[in-house]
């Protein structure tokens, strides 16, 4: 479940740093620009989808854009791959780091070598990379999750929820923003726990904890999950206990949560589309290479990235993808 970790890694906080735009490079070159995405791992549907976006960008803009990744999610191997890209003198490196801290020196090296660097899901690398690209602001994502929960529950009733761990910053940002939003907007919603339960991103733990919660609070009407494991296991628990009256929303993927959306044990799943993120990252790099300005409000040509915001070197889209019974089959990750 790489995607879970993907989401977690993004939460390390923002290290602000000034970002200098880069002057046009090799303007007269007849050679195609080479833009390479170094993803976390091969063989994961999430990154297979991202590759679709990167390749699409290559076609659309007539550049040599492609994706590589280590066989396993090994940070050291990924750093090596980036080093070999530097040696190859590619024009731009896009990276979704397995471990932002360990790849930092390699990215600094790439910058020194004059290579354009764009990161994704690594706000802490903004400033090291030219820009970090994020699909949304965590606060918006959390508020949307609770809006959807309230909608599914008809605006009232008891609910509980699950996060990876109380120490996971991204999950807690979603939860806190959503919870505050719900308190103001939906006064009839009642959160029964003192704090969300934790599943350590493990399905078995999630399933056991949710079962226990449902046993302790039989009158529960809603569950949210900030982890993919939490959301999918909440849906499974609801199905096993034949409690379709309980509404489930939260972070989810088409490949994992789709079946629960179909069966009606989960009402909606939200995430972002890796293909679009890959496309946008490549586009930002392309713009920098062409010497075009990057500023708030520009259109990066993908759904949700038409009017991006820019804060401290991080480009935020508004690209939350809400999956429902009707639309999830359109996505392949």
């Amino acid at each position: 479940m790489l995607t879970r970790r993907t989401v977690l890694a993004g939460g390390a906080g923002i290290l602000a740093a000034g970002v200098a735009g880069r002057a046009a490079f090799g303007a007269a070159s007849d050679k195609k620009l080479e833009i390479v995405m170094c993803a976390k791992q091969e063989g994961i549907s999430w990154f297979d989808d991202m590759r679709v976006g990167v390749n699409q960008f290559g076609k659309d803009f007539g550049v040599n854009a492609y994706q590589i990744a280590p066989e396993t999610g090994d940070p050291a191997k990924q750093a090596q791959m980036v080093e070999s890209l530097i040696a190859k003198r590619v024009d731009a490196i896009l990276v979704v780091p397995n471990d932002p801290q360990s790849i930092r020196p390699v990215l600094e090296q790439a910058r020194k070598a004059g290579i354009t660097v764009i990161s994704h899901e690594a706000q802490s690398l903004a400033g090291v990379s030219h820009f970090d690209v994020e699909a949304f602001k965590n606060e918006d994502f959390g508020a949307l999750m609770f809006d959807n929960l309230a909608k599914a529950m008809g605006g009232e009733g008891k609910y509980a929820g699950i996060v990876g761990a109380l120490t996971m910053e991204t999950h807690m940002q979603w939860f806190k923003a959503g919870f505050e939003h719900a308190k103001k907007t939906y006064p009839k919603l009642e959160f029964v726990l003192a704090e969300p339960i934790e599943d350590n991103n493990d399905e078995k733990t999630a399933l056991d904890k949710i079962n226990e919660t449902l046993k302790k609070y039989p009158d529960l009407k809603g569950l949210f999950g900030c982890s993919v494991s939490g959301t999918s296991m909440a849906a499974l628990a609801v199905e096993k206990l034949r409690r379709k009256d309980i509404k489930v929303v939260g972070l989810g993927l088409p490949s994992i949560n789709g079946i629960y959306l179909d069966e009606g044990s989960e009402q909606e799943a939200q995430c972002w589309r890796p293909a679009d993120a890959g496309y946008v990252a490549a586009y930002v790099a392309y713009k920098l290479l062409k010497g075009e300005p990057i500023a708030a409000g520009i259109d990066l040509k993908r759904p949700g990235y038409a009017n991006v915001t820019l804060e401290n070197g991080v480009i935020y889209g508004n690209a939350t993808l809400v999956l429902t019974k009707e639309n999830w089959k359109d996505y392949k990750f």
Binding site: T72, I197, D208, K216, L241, R243, D245
Partner: protein, 359 residues
């Protein structure tokens, strides 16, 4: 002829402390010893939870406990057999997920949607991996920890690199496996819904009975205890080390395979990176149940109780309103408590024989 040693068989009368502890710990029982202590500990904990949350004492709690603990218990029974022999296996969870992965993948590959087929494949792959463990340990006289640790790495490597394993999600799992995870023998109402007795109870009971039979009713089982108790003496007595190793490691592997299939059916997801990392949790339950790291001791009842305690500790934190980190604290505490008691018991026993080795 006067009877031998009769008077010396009775322990010397010791202080009240020793007597109390001897009572508590089931004096003189290598096999029954500590069981009553563990049962007492479980009872005390249940009462404590019930005081805090009276609803806890319900059939629903019991049914949920069984569903949650069944798969872990099955694999723990295999670990028990290895630990009785004086070995230790840390490859069992890697083996479990490999077996489950292969079983699910083959079911998809051949388009066979049959629980029986998946069970045969998972148990077969598990037993095969276990046999390799046993063979390597025998051939190279390697420490079991090193061998099985290496095996854990190899299995993960095979899964990730050679098979390029991707998670098999619920929608792509055979229907029979999905049903295996949700089917129940009977149901009782819980809130507006129902909670049932999972069908996992069937493999659980079969595994418990077969492990009991293996350990207590077969020559190999007794040779396993003998090996754990005194390996040199066992070999002198002509115990066939290769045979015993092959049988116990394959058996542990087979149960790991079964456990893997139960686990993926329970959570409806075959993810190559899950499970591995929980080995110590299982080992802790087996040790709490009375097995010794040095071998020669441990029982099926002990494992059932040990796993009951550990599962209880895992699945009552929300009920008593504590965060997940308390789980580790409780399990650690139980482990230290049980280990100290059994050490004290051994000391008492040695004192009675005037052996002052571990004062």
């Amino acid at each position: 002829m006067e009877p031998m040693h009769e008077e010396s068989l009775e322990p010397n009368a010791a202080g009240w402390r020793s007597r109390l502890l001897a009572q508590l710990t089931g004096r003189g029982g290598g096999r029954g010893g500590g069981i009553s202590l563990l049962a007492g500990l479980i009872l005390i904990y249940v009462v404590m939870v019930a005081l805090r949350s009276p609803d806890f004492l319900s059939l629903a709690s019991l049914l949920d406990l069984i569903r949650s603990g069944a798969a872990w218990t099955v694999v723990a029974l295999g670990v028990l057999v290895v630990m009785v022999s004086g070995g230790i296996d840390v490859s069992f969870l890697a083996n479990a997920i490999l077996s489950a992965y292969v079983a699910t993948a083959l079911s998809r590959w051949f388009g066979i949607d049959s629980l029986t087929f998946a069970l045969v494949v998972a148990i077969g792959v598990g037993a095969l991996v276990g046999a390799v463990n046993g063979l390597i340990i025998y051939l190279f006289s390697l420490p079991t920890l090193i061998t099985t640790l290496a095996m854990q790495g190899v299995i993960q490597g095979v899964l990730m690199v050679f098979l390029g394993a991707q998670p098999i999600t619920a929608s792509r799992m055979p229907i029979s496996l999905r049903n295996f995870g949700t089917d129940v023998l009977f149901e009782v109402p819980l809130g507006p819904g129902y909670i049932g007795l999972t069908v996992f109870v069937i493999p659980l009971v079969i595994a418990a009975i077969s492990t009991w039979l293996l350990l207590n009713r077969t020559a190999i089982g007794r040779a396993t205890y003998a090996l754990g108790s005194n390996p040199t003496a066992a070999l002198r007595c002509g115990v066939n080390l290769l045979k015993v190793n092959l049988v116990i490691y394959s058996y542990a592997g087979a149960l790991a395979g079964l456990m893997g299939l139960m686990m993926v059916s329970d959570i409806r997801l075959v993810d190559p990176v899950t499970l591995v990392g929980n080995e110590l949790f299982v080992l802790a339950a087996v040790v709490i149940g009375g097995a010794k790291l040095t071998g020669g001791a441990g029982s099926v009842t002990g494992v059932l109780l040990g796993m009951t305690l550990v599962t209880l500790l895992n699945n009552t934190l929300v009920t008593i309103g504590l965060s997940a980190s308390w789980n580790r604290f409780f399990i650690g505490f139980a482990l230290v408590f049980i280990a100290s008691i059994s050490h004290y018991r051994a000391k008492l026993r040695n004192l009675r024989q005037l052996n002052f080795d571990n004062i």
